[in-house]
Amino acid sequence: MSKAATLGKVIPVEFKKSMQSEWMKTFINAALLPFIGILVFLILWSAAAKNIETSLGQFPGPSAVYQQTSVLIDEHFAERKKAEAFYERQEARNQARLKVDPNYQAKVRDYTGKPTFFDQIWTSLYTVMIGFLIASVIAVPLGIACGLSEQTYAAINPLIQIFKPVSPLAWLPLVTMVVSAVYVTDDPAFSKSFLTSAFTVALCCLWPTLINTAVGVSNISQDLVNVSRVLRLGRLAHVVKIVLPSSIPMIFTGLRLSLGIGWMVLIAAEMLAQNPGLGKFVWDEFQNGSSESLARIMVAVLVIGLIGFILDRLMLLIQKSVSWDKNAILR
């Protein structure tokens, strides 16, 4: 638009040409170049894969991975059918016994088949979201407190600096033991493995959000703070009306970093602790050691990457809808 306006009275042919080249440029940048990048990667991958011979057979190339993807999908639906059949049989059996004996207390048992690849994806997603939520609920208010008061920051900063670089794997044994010691109920709403994974994720998700929120809040323009002081806004009103809106961009930068880290941490934690999820899927396949295992692990690797990417895009969408600055370039 702006280009067209500055060109003013340029003859239509040239104008059309410039529009066309503009369109070409967007097409090349948005579709052609990424396509070429992926294509080159696939060629290199399949070439390299052919030359790597492992004890579990040839390293999987793109075609093997594609094949295993459809196998995994088929397995999922086959397992679902089995589950349905199981519940139908159970229902029929219970009805039959009720006819004979009206006082019979029907027992409903859960299907105990092994979770499919897609079940594991869902478990991982659910776990990372809960862990991330726990971390955000703690980190954002704490970050605001640190940003508002230098004293709070001085008190908390050493803890941040010490705990920030700790690997999730170091936390894992401690979290596991604490969860089994503290979470003792007869009727658990959550499984212990789920809680262990979620807390480990939360412990590692805290720091980027905390630090970025604190930086965002402490960098609020002094003029806006003065406006708030002249208006005599109360503490809460100051935070809600001035502090939060102006530090939204930094808070989201932190949240996006946190979610990325949380997703990486979760896979590692699941592998190490044998907690259900994609990490366990990878580990099980590795232990299984069939000729398809590597290809199935490769499928998981790609899916993990894809989900990480989608999670980040989702956060970006939320940021765009929450942020007041619609002109900001978000990437």
Binding site: S221, V230, R232, A237, S246, W324
Partner: protein, 280 residues
């Protein structure tokens, strides 16, 4: 128009800022009595502490010596009865013009006005500065002059006893500035607020003020001379251009600034960083 009764009084005001090299005395012994409805301009070279004076009256800074009395009450914190129009408008960028004014109205009149009264009051103030047409635009969608108008509307909406303006038109082009000066004169004639305005512009000072307070160079800046401007109101910019009285006042201010307080840049006259931001 000028009420002789004591309204705003600065007595023996001085302030020191701590620096790594020991305390830096920015202001000393500033005395000023301002009557209700008076329009005062503060003029002086960059870094002479004009903004510091304004911030002390606003309550944003605490004077280390002396103090400020408004209607016989000591000023020791910021408040809406001393509304500030900031140099760079300081509108909240995520709120529309209407919402920016509304935030102030809601805060100041939350117990005294009904919802519809507040709505009318916000609109009334936007009308005063001729901004009704852009009430629902956000600051990044309007021009610099319009932002400053909204900033003035926000300050006026607090019904301040004293309106403090920190170089309100400094960042605007000459034509826009002239427009806003005319608007400000109209509003001042209507509402009769007490106004303290910082300016760098000699014409602006003479055109708008009842008195011009000229400040000496820092460090340890203080009030140099006070010039009463006895020109008939309403003042018309064009007619005054050839008015000998007007030119005489202009000349006096210029003489003060460029002869008596000739700015000599030395390292010692530089202010500490904590204070240079606003007064630049």
């Amino acid at each position: 128009m000028i009420n002789e009764q004591k309204h705003l009084e600065l007595s023996q005001v001085g302030i020191e800022f701590p620096t790594p090299k020991g305390p830096f005395c920015a202001l000393t012994d500033v005395n000023l009595k301002i009557a209700k409805g008076e329009f005062i301009s503060l003029i002086g070279h960059s870094g002479c502490g004009k903004s510091t004076v304004l911030n002390i009256v606003a309550g944003l800074y605490q004077a280390t010596e002396g103090g400020v009395l408004l209607d016989n009450k000591e000023v020791n914190e910021p408040g809406p009865e001393r509304a500030v129009v900031f140099q760079n408008h300081s509108l909240l960028p995520w709120l529309t013009a209407y919402q920016n004014v509304e935030l102030a109205v809601k805060q100041v009149f939350k117990k005294r006005m009904s919802k519809s009264e507040m709505h009318d009051w916000v609109n009334h103030n936007l009308e005063l500065v001729h901004m009704t047409h852009a009430a629902h635009k956000r600051p990044d969608e309007i021009s610099g002059g319009m932002k400053q108008r909204v900033g003035i509307a926000r300050a006026l909406a607090m019904q301040p006893k004293v309106l403090l303006m920190d170089e309100p038109f400094g960042a605007l082009d000459a034509l826009t500035r002239a427009h806003l000066q005319d608007s400000l004169m109209e509003i001042h004639a209507d509402l009769g607020n007490t106004v303290i305005m910082i300016t760098h512009d000699v014409d602006e000072a003479v055109l708008l003020s009842d008195r011009i307070v000229m400040m000496t160079n820092g460090p340890s800046a203080t009030v140099g001379e006070v010039l009463s401007v006895n020109l008939e109101r309403p003042r018309a910019r064009l007619a005054l251009a050839d008015n000998p009285q007007y030119n005489h006042y202009r000349h006096q201010v210029l003489t003060f600034l460029y002869e008596k307080q000739k700015k000599v840049e030395t390292v010692a006259s530089k202010k500490p960083t904590s204070n240079t931001r606003k007064s630049a």
